[in-house]
């Protein structure tokens, strides 16, 4: 660890948190329909689609339309992946995906997960990436942010029946937020060297080794929305470690920023919509504190290097470079991967499977916390609202008062729904990983032996259920068990959490908004931030401690004792 490394982490946070404020106020303007410079396109969409953007939707309507649109889009992607051989932009004549792989991939991209059980270079055509995957990167991100906007509205006034209009939210978020920012970012990426062409390969006559076939494609456009929409689906197998996806340390910093800026901006937008900015800042700081500790921890673990390799004669000053790229260095690699697991991006610029056990435990734990630091675009926000409700509930229990959050009484119904959402995901992760390891097929998927193998499987189920999409990538994921199992986990993790959250929002929206009294627990100061962090770690993370002890912790102790597998 060096001072410069710590300064890099500080720089990332300064850039992200500094930009979260203007980004938050822009997003609030989008949600409140104060932005309309693309009105002709927007209204054209409504007209062609037969949408009345002013139609009020109760929470049930909002949830139904979101589900319906997601199902249609899922089926379309499934068809594209199965039929890619016959579709345009497939110069390498790549065959259609198998039913199980197409199911897994369609589930993955329609839930904003971007888990990749396929090797992009050989298993997907340029066309299927561009008009299949990339479209989902916009729409699934916009749908997540739309739900966040709906939840925000629930707290703004009392007696509200409508959470907004899902179609209008989806359209506006895509047109005004995701498209402009990703086009600017993609242009910067091309300037730095990321390619943008419809060719799929070219051949070079190398200096020393005959010839080299190099995969290429429309990389930059996908890369920008991949980060901005916390998607994570790499154009190449090596994801953001590939020099075409991430050419240098500056693009690495840019991509890191894109990952985080909407997630940290949403609580700020919330504060603006509430007309109480301190409320939004409190949520943002709680997210940032957990994430910054994660960044420092993972950096420390990797910078120290691998004691087994140092004993074999490797210089200690380089840190653990297995699976990392020289141009990013240790801190550029760890900060990227931690940010991409603290958000639900799941992009990687270095390979977590080869991280030191504790360095890799941090990304795992951040996913298990429920993706709230700051989480996926939209989903991170509505998840931290669930934790905020649980926090005021816990505080209410201590003093024996009916808890309220932002003037809305929090009652048994909301707490039951909140706990349902939290527990449902836990069961999927622990039971899924446990069951997989009891089967021959699941055990055979592991790339590494010993406790590290357990971590691989635990990571896969955490990643899928929490809609992250990163992997301990040694695992062989394209098997019937994992294609269908993890595909179901992704769908379940997205919708079985999102629907209870919309139900909570609907219930809270209808309640009157009370003004704060002397007995109201303040939800802006350090006391609340501390309580919220405690609730996130205890309610979100503690149930995974036994499994994580047998995985990464045991791995670390055995490695320190010199044991290899």
């Amino acid at each position: 660890m060096t001072m410069q490394g710590m300064l890099y982490i500080a720089l990332v946070f300064a850039l992200v948190l500094g930009c979260a404020f203007p980004m938050g106020s822009y997003m609030a303007a989008i949600f409140e329909e104060r932005v309309n410079y693309l009105a002709p396109v927007e209204n054209g969409f409504y007209k062609l689609a037969g949408v009345d953007p002013k139609r009020a939707m109760r929470w049930t309507d909002y949830a139904t339309t979101l589900l319906l649109l997601s199902v249609i889009h899922f089926l379309l992607l499934y068809a594209i992946l199965r039929l890619q051989y016959y579709l345009p932009m497939n110069p390498l004549h790549i065959a259609g995906m198998s039913p199980r792989l197409a199911f897994n991939t369609a589930a993955s991209f329609s839930t904003n997960t971007n888990w990749q059980a396929y090797a992009p270079e050989s298993q997907i055509s340029n066309g299927a990436q561009v008009f299949g995957l990339v479209v989902h990167m916009f729409i699934s991100a916009a749908a997540g942010i739309a739900v966040a906007a709906a939840v925000m509205r629930a707290f703004t006034t009392g007696g509200l029946q409508s959470l907004g209009n899902f179609y209008a939210d989806l359209t506006r978020i895509t047109l005004y937020l995701l498209l402009p920012v990703s086009i600017i970012a993609a242009t910067i990426l091309v300037v730095a060297g990321s390619p943008q062409t419809f060719a799929q390969t070219f051949t070079a006559h190398t200096l020393d080794a005959g010839s080299q076939t190099i995969a290429i494609g429309p990389v930059a456009f996908q890369e920008a929305i991949k980060e901005l929409g916390t998607n994570g689906g790499g154009f190449f197998n090596a994801n953001s470690g590939h020099p075409f996806e991430n050419p240098d340390a500056w693009t690495n910093l840019l991509e890191n920023w894109l990952d985080l800026v909407i997630g940290f901006g949403l609580p700020i937008a919330f504060g603006i919509m509430l007309k109480d900015k301190a409320q939004g800042r409190a949520l943002m700081f709680a997210m940032a504190i957990i994430l910054s500790l994660g960044c420092i921890g993972s950096y420390a673990a990797e910078a120290a290097g691998n004691p087994l390799h140092i004993a074999a004669g490797v210089s200690a000053s380089g840190g653990n470079m297995e699976g990392k790229e020289v141009r990013f260095g240790i801190v550029g690699s760890t900060t990227f991967n931690v940010a991409a697991t603290g958000t639900s991006t799941g992009a990687v610029d270095s390979f977590t499977d080869s991280y030191m056990p504790l360095g890799g435990a941090i990304p795992l734990f951040l996913m298990q916390l429920g993706e709230v630091t700051p989480g996926g675009v939209g989903s991170g926000f509505y998840t931290i609202i669930v934790f905020a409700l649980l926090s005021v509930f816990v505080a209410g229990l201590m003093v024996g008062r009916t808890p309220e959050y932002l003037g809305k009484k929090v009652q048994a119904k909301e707490i039951k729904l909140a706990m349902l959402g939290v527990l449902i995901l836990t069961i999927f992760i622990l039971a899924g990983a446990g069951f997989s390891l009891m089967t021959k097929s699941g055990f055979g998927s592991l790339a590494n032996a010993g406790p590290h193998g357990l971590t691989e499987m635990l990571y896969a189920w955490s990643s899928a259920t929490e809609n992250n999409g990163s992997a301990f990538a040694g695992i062989s994921a394209d098997t019937p068990l994992l294609d269908y199992g993890l595909g179901s986990a992704m769908l379940f993790g997205r919708f079985a959490f999102l629907i209870p959250v919309l139900a909570i929002a609907g219930s809270l929206a209808a309640k009157p908004k009370l003004s704060a009294s002397s007995g109201t627990f303040p939800t802006t100061g350090p006391l609340f931030i501390g309580l919220l962090i405690g609730v996130i770690i205890i309610l979100g993370g503690l149930q995974y401690l036994p499994a994580d002890t047998l995985g990464p912790l045991a791995d670390q102790y055995l490695l320190a004792a010199g044991k290899t597998f």
Partner: protein, 201 residues
């Protein structure tokens, strides 16, 4: 609300956004980038005498003593008989070893690479990047420390003055920004192209 009434708007929006973000914008953006930034948009190709010798961003394999050596690459494929073989720097694919830090096979590889590195470039501590496989398998760079360690051996293979080669390495090194953003490293292909321009054999 009936589901059937919602079918039209939901389906239409999926189709409209597929047309906009899946066809119109990627086409327009690609066209604009091909016009404005053709070098980068087509993969930063390097040419010598009109022939493409590689991409400035993609590493390639070097085994001759007269060239600087890149990092180990974990890429593998299969031969004609279907047996697994190592295919370092095969840029039609990409990826890492994904071996655990406590992996016995990784430790064995690292030990062998340390021995080979010391044999080629002399005793002493071995830079970490020189004996570990990269994330992409096509990492174009090596650390400056690694390049400087290799310089005397490369100079001797070419019968050049070691100081001259060391100077070239230092000239070609990418610096970090205040030691905060980025690392000190050298692009291996570009360095080896410069070596070829420098001269013999």
């Amino acid at each position: 609300m009936s589901i059937s009434r919602e079918l039209r708007p939901a389906l239409s929006l999926v189709v409209l956004f597929t047309i906009l973000t899946g066809f119109i914008l990627p086409e327009a953006f690609t066209g604009a980038m091909q016009l404005a930034l053709p070098f980068q948009a087509n993969g930063s190709l390097l040419t010598v005498n009109g022939q493409v010798v590689g991409s400035a961003l993609i590493g390639q394999n070097f085994t001759s003593a007269k060239y600087f050596q890149p990092r180990p690459s974990a890429l593998s494929g299969t031969d004609a008989k279907g047996n697994p073989i190592s295919t370092p720097y095969d840029a039609s694919e990409s990826g890492a070893s994904n071996l655990a830090p406590a992996s016995a096979s990784l430790l064995q590889s690292v030990q062998q690479r340390v021995v080979a590195y010391r044999k080629a470039f002399g005793p002493g501590p071995v830079p970490a990047d020189a004996v570990t496989a990269s994330g992409s398998g096509i990492d174009p760079d090596i650390s400056l420390a690694n390049a400087l360690r290799q310089a005397p051996a490369v100079a001797s293979a070419r019968h050049l003055d070691a100081a001259k080669v060391t100077l070239l390495v230092n000239q070609m090194a990418h610096e970090s920004f205040l030691a905060i953003v980025g690392t000190q490293h050298v692009n291996v292909l570009q360095l080896n192209l410069a070596m070829d321009r420098l001269g013999a054999p």
